[in-house]
Point group: C2
Chain length 201, copies 2
DNA sequence: GTCTATACGCGGATAGAC
DNA sequence: GTCTATCCGCGTATAGAC
């Protein structure tokens, strides 16, 4: 195989493994086994494990960075843009397990530098857009805090999905994207459009 | 030292390390070093690493299970009970880093059996209580889904706290428990009390 | 580019002395 | 209960042949 394809294959294998088990738990031998090369060959492409981890992250997040901006500008009214954001983010988390697991791992374990990189490259643009949309919808005095709440609810639903079957009253469809999109836009839509919601604190 | 104290010391050291770095990344040697005994001595108290991990988890979560039920029954009106839940859960997550990190790690990486255990011992009682409270406050036809949303928002805020300094519009106080308690009860209180909120889907 | 061979420390775990 | 001593496989990483 050509060098470019090997590199791609390694990054794909590595990010999948890191998402599934956490990168601490994944050895260079594990990655090599998936790609079907010998461990030593990895070192032709990447200086050391740290370099592979860093580039595997960048690889996954870069794929997501490209399409997101266009997707988020389609909305006409503020309310529609709000709903577009919720739908996009729920689908992203629930339908791309590699992205979502890596994201949560980074939020939990990422160093300050890595979190800064992540925020700047992946999060900040849609987050600003969401903040502006929320300001338009609700007139909140603290749109950024409310935007964090929206993102948080979606992120939290993703995390809770694993525990869902064991919670009393939990139904399987509460883990499906479309059900969640409808529920979250409904619930938060009401909160934001509430006539006397002015933000808080 | 007596066996009981050693055991306690080992469990405390282990759970702290697991919370900080993830249990895959923490060796028996690491645990032994903190307790200041030799690695081999750990095997007098615990059969193997898996047993230590399991008991370290149980140790941390058991500590939290005891007080929570009383705390959650103080509310008089449904609205007050809702606010009591939010305040309790936000403070638990933001003021006990060991508990919160272990919880998120388990939600992300826990096997189905461990998640079942976790749900039954830690989550299910307050969750049922919250579901009932929400049914009382809002008359929602799907109180469990709405309860998940409440828990999700709080969990998500905890996860986002690390990225907060890097988000545009993010202010440091958005990561403080009291500010969040106020914001979340305000935001979700409006959603739940909204006259025509009937749940969804 | 990928291989074989290899170095070497860290990992979990056990046996048996004290 | 805790120790010393030890086993052995896995981990990252390098040198050098093909």
């Amino acid at each position: 195989m050509s060098n470019v394809n090997s590199r791609e294959a390694i990054l794909t294998a590595a990010s999948t493994l890191y998402a599934t088990r956490g990168y601490e738990a994944v050895s260079m031998r594990d990655v090599a086994a998936v790609v079907q090369i010998k461990p030593a060959s990895l070192y032709y492409h990447f200086k050391d494990k740290e370099a592979l981890v860093r580039e595997a992250f960048a690889h996954v997040f870069a794929e997501k960075t490209a399409p997101m901006e266009e997707v988020l500008q389609v909305g006409r009214s503020a309310q529609e843009r709000f709903e577009a954001f919720v739908a996009w983010f729920v689908r992203l988390l629930f339908e791309d397990p590699i992205f979502s697991r890596l994201l949560v791992r980074e939020l939990l374990d990422g160093t300050s530098e890595r979190l800064e990189y992540l925020s700047e490259t992946v999060f900040d643009k849609p987050f600003s857009q969401l903040s502006r949309t929320i300001a338009d919808v609700s007139g909140s005095t603290e749109p950024a805090l409310t935007a964090m709440s929206v993102v948080s609810m979606i992120l939290g639903h993703y995390l809770l999905a694993g525990a869902l079957p064991h919670l009393s009253g939990g139904r399987a469809e509460y883990g499906e994207s479309e059900v969640l999109i409808h529920h979250i836009t409904e619930l938060l839509g009401r909160a934001l459009m509430s006539p006397d919601f002015r933000g808080e604190a």
